[in-house]
């Protein structure tokens, strides 16, 4: 009982520290813009940002940009997940092909693939195609590597005992390989999704015609900093929301 009360007290204390940290930050921000006269081009007033955010949300100005970014994300992720899982499964079928392909794929994955963005822009232009291609390429690697790890390193004992009990190929796949590999593949899919979103936002920021990243850069170049802050807050909220949803989906699928 006493221990529990102590734990509750600790919980309240750390929440209080967190809340006061955020309030301190907001307070410094507010004082910085009003009292210490930081130029509104560098740091806009938080109240102004809040008004801009409300304006952006109520007018629905964000909808076209958000739709483009999410469409790019959806296409890139579906390409990378289907090719990644298929290729990963095919490679994992033999120990030999795992030893041939896995170091190769891991080696390419260790290169920062964002380097190829200029090349992709040269091939696919400034439109959504180059973002989709980059996002699909970057998210392909964690998915294929985790699929290989999931299917390739199932304990031999399980496979042998299933076979000795007379399991067919399909049964072996459905009841032994898939349940063993599923959690690992899910982790790969979550990582792939997160970095696909990151690279799509990044490539929109660097060179694009539309999308959330493009909108932020557009506002930055117009020195409309308050509205840019509002859009940054919006984009960060969307990204955190999507990442939380994928983590929750992963946790739920893992439980079953």
């Amino acid at each position: 009982m006493k221990a529990r009360r102590k734990r509750d007290k600790n919980w309240v204390a750390s929440r209080a520290v967190q809340v006061s940290f955020v309030i301190l930050l907001l307070g410094l921000w507010y004082l910085g813009t009003t009292r210490w006269r930081i130029s509104p081009i560098l740091l806009p007033n938080p109240v102004a940002v809040w008004h801009e955010l409300k304006d952006v949300l109520s007018t629905g100005e964000y909808i076209p940009d958000l739709r483009i970014t999410l469409t790019e994300l959806a296409i890139a992720f579906s390409i990378s997940s289907t090719t990644g899982i298929t290729l990963g499964y095919l490679i994992s079928r033999s120990r030999y092909s795992i030893r041939v392909f896995e170091p190769l794929l891991a080696g390419i994955y260790s290169v920062p693939i964002i380097l190829f963005l200029p090349l992709y822009i040269l091939f696919f232009g400034l439109g959504p195609a180059s973002k989709i291609a980059l996002g699909a390429t970057i998210s392909f690697f964690p998915i294929v590597l985790n699929t290989i790890a999931g299917f390739g390193y199932v304990d031999r004992i399980f496979i042998l005992s299933a076979r000795s009990m007379g399991a067919s190929d399909y049964q072996l796949f459905r009841w032994v390989l898939l349940p063993a590999a599923f959690p690992v593949i899910l982790t790969g899919l979550r990582i792939g999704f997160t970095i696909a979103l990151l690279s799509i936002l990044g490539s929109e920021t660097i060179a694009s015609l539309a999308g959330l990243g493009h909108r932020i850069v557009h506002l930055a170049e117009g020195m409309d900093t308050a509205r840019m802050f509002a859009y940054i807050a919006f984009a960060v909220a969307i990204a955190l929301f999507l990442n939380t949803v994928t983590s929750m989906l992963e946790a739920r699928a893992r439980q079953r």
């Binding site: 520290v17 290169v111 964002i114 200029p118 091939f123 990151l198 990044g202």
Partner: protein, 276 residues
């Protein structure tokens, strides 16, 4: 009877070994590196054929041309200076990330209370896509190397903070208790119990931090650059010069692989004590 005799004779003949074909197969199977080399060569062949016969010369150059003319990349005025600047940016950003990440990681990780209070904030920041605030970094730090370093640090510190804090937290209580019972003071406990325990995760953090720094610096370079490597990638893209662009990207990729390999080796070396 004749049949049995025949069997006996067959058994008496010493085996001559598997046929040559199977021996070659086994030899190849024992060497997956050879097949890997084959796959890489095949990919280069596809690239070569595609570039020579299928794709417009304005967009893609064959690898033979890229690698035989790699010196033209270095001969382009400014490229060597740009590579040097980018390497400096990477080095400074990595050093700053390690220092700040280690300090913050220790501050957050050493006390249970600060860990519980500040770790969620760190994880939240780690989870936000920092590319969205790239324009802000340019606004605050200008378009020179400072903004690249700052952006690289913003990508590099979080993995270091998280792994250092975790490495300090996961120490076995019995080690601390025994150190204390032998009369160690706070500093001695840190120096001789916590610090050695933290080293492997610290190096793992440095490896992840290097990946982050590379990503951050290169993103900022590609976004806007006056003197670094990003200026030349933009230049070669806009002047439709795929030979030089591919050469430059290859040089950068080799640089990135080299840096990653250095920190990976260091991690292997300094986390060895834990295994044995």
């Amino acid at each position: 009877m004749a049949h049995a005799l025949h069997m006996q004779q067959a058994q008496a003949v010493p085996p001559v070994g598997p046929p040559l074909k199977r021996r070659i197969k086994r030899w190849l199977l024992a060497r997956p590196g050879l097949a890997r080399l084959g796959v890489v060569l095949m990919l280069f062949a596809v690239w070569e054929i595609a570039a020579r016969f299928l794709v417009d010369k304005m967009f893609l150059s064959p690898p033979s041309q890229v690698f035989s003319q790699i010196q033209t990349v270095f001969e382009t005025p400014g490229v060597i200076a740009a590579l040097r600047i980018t390497a400096w940016e990477l080095a400074i950003a990595f050093a700053l990330s390690v220092m700040i990440g280690l300090a913050v990681g220790l501050a957050v990780g050493l006390h249970r209370f600060s860990h519980r209070s500040f770790m969620p904030i760190v994880l939240l920041l780690y989870g936000t896509p920092q590319v969205t605030i790239l324009p802000l970094f340019i606004l605050y730090f200008g378009i020179g190397p400072a903004s690249k370093i700052a952006f690289g640090v913003s990508h590099g510190i979080f993995p270091i903070i998280v792994t250092v804090a975790a490495g300090v937290q996961n120490i076995k209580p019995i080690l601390l208790t025994s150190a204390k019972s032998m009369g160690a003071n706070q500093w001695q406990i840190f120096r001789w119990a916590i610090f050695p325990h933290m080293i492997p995760s610290f190096f793992a953090g440095m490896r992840l931090g290097m990946t982050g720094v590379l990503l951050g610096v290169l993103l900022a370079e590609l976004y806007v650059s006056t003197a670094g490597i990003g200026y030349f990638t933009t230049l070669f893209t806009q002047s439709f010069n795929p030979t030089k662009l591919l050469g430059l990207i290859s040089v950068l990729a080799i640089m990135a692989i080299g840096l990653n390999e250095i920190v990976r080796r260091a991690e292997l070396r300094y986390s060895r004590w834990r295994k044995d």
